[in-house]
Subunit: 288 residues, 2 copies
Amino acid sequence: MRDFSSSIEWLSLNTATVRRQWTLPQIIDGCARHGIRAISPWRDQVADCGLKVASRSIRDTGLVLTGYCRGGMFTAADDDALSTALDDNYRAVDEACELGSPCLVLVVGALPGALEGRAAHRDIGRSRAQVVDGIARLLEYARPRKMPLAIEALHPMYAADRACVNTLEQALDICDALDPGATGALGVVVDLYHVWWDPKLQDQIRRAGARRLHAFHVCDWLTPTTDILLDRGMMGDGIIEIPKIRGWMEDAGYAGFSEVEIFSAGNWWQRPGDEVLATCIERHRTVV
Amino acid sequence: MRDFSSSIEWLSLNTATVRRQWTLPQIIDGCARHGIRAISPWRDQVADCGLKVASRSIRDTGLVLTGYCRGGMFTAADDDALSTALDDNYRAVDEACELGSPCLVLVVGALPGALEGRAAHRDIGRSRAQVVDGIARLLEYARPRKMPLAIEALHPMYAADRACVNTLEQALDICDALDPGATGALGVVVDLYHVWWDPKLQDQIRRAGARRLHAFHVCDWLTPTTDILLDRGMMGDGIIEIPKIRGWMEDAGYAGFSEVEIFSAGNWWQRPGDEVLATCIERHRTVV
């Protein structure tokens, strides 16, 4: 397994981690200051500063991307909304190409309206079918543009309102169905927060293999967890066996970055951005 | 599928639902008043009024049990604590026998100390091995006493601190390992709150079959969910397809009760007990 204790060569910063402190240009400057060489930006942050500005700034700083967050949200209550969602995903692929991202991360969506507390229906099977159909159609668009898609299985506690793909096994079943040759055009994100609990995790990481392991997101699971969305812990503050699972990734052939992604209403979003980056770097060395 | 719209013959009340309003004797009286013929009591409630009093009161009222909550919590940081936990489980089996319960429900435990925010270690694999060992040893005690054990898979959001068995598939793998003949001595609880999201749910219910489907707990999943422990919704207030999943249970041969179990810091625990029971009955008829 690669030794991360003396280098941050394989540290990437998911830009949500300091979204409350900084704009994307400020994040890019912060990464340059701290010697972080990779980021994974969010669409809203890119839109805020403009795609061309973001793209040029990333290139000028010498940063690489480890993903682009995010496409997906394929589910809807009617055909018009389905079609609008797909169009928006085409734009996300275009943006990911412009930014030089190695993949577009997909958070697939769940029961339409549930995120606003007004689910249009309860049929998660219908949502799951819409997701498979949506990914299939997006793949037709993304493949000729050479933009790999990466399905992110979300924790089952988000199954109703954010993503109805909830295990790595389920994500890989979709990969098998839509890209049986494992060409690399469709793969998965392994985000520790969402999958650490899974008794089949090691087997499914092995099953995915290097061709389908498109990204690795690190953080920690806190006990107690006090907020369902905004309590993603800093590495080392919780109970996830991060090095063990990173070892499983490497055994399966993954040789990419560890992307730090912390959401935290109560803690990390309250501190100065430079302090957050310094802690990410220190924990990456000592914990990851 | 059995029609529940005109009868509450198959409604059972998990006594946690009105634990804030009533003692166990008051719950038993309440059930008699409302025509509810089955309950599933908790150990602390039984202990509060005394095992003999509880047992006699249940028999005198003509109530039947659908389970006894709960054994489990097998995991520990050292051998002494493991042994103490096992002894306590033997007592739970004895009590379940005295009460005439059809099974002892097992919430298996997770990382020792995590519930108090001080996990003794992070090795969930070790906890899972302790759980299998604990169930194996408890089964040796329970089998000659003819007390079936029922493993309750808990939602993955409880994997760190309450139960490291988190899918029905995982629970059934344990059943296969410890009771390969499917004698009925070891089975599962299907609790909608914990398993509704699982893409393999229908397959695993079918796999379990009548011999291993020991109980069926109903409630609802609210969007948004505002508390990780105390926001189990009333049937009909959330997004679970209750009749569909009950149909899967019946197709697999389950012909028992639907046990209503609501935890709700914000709502149902604030209302008078009789109002809660009346709502459980109405929703059982119209939603379940």
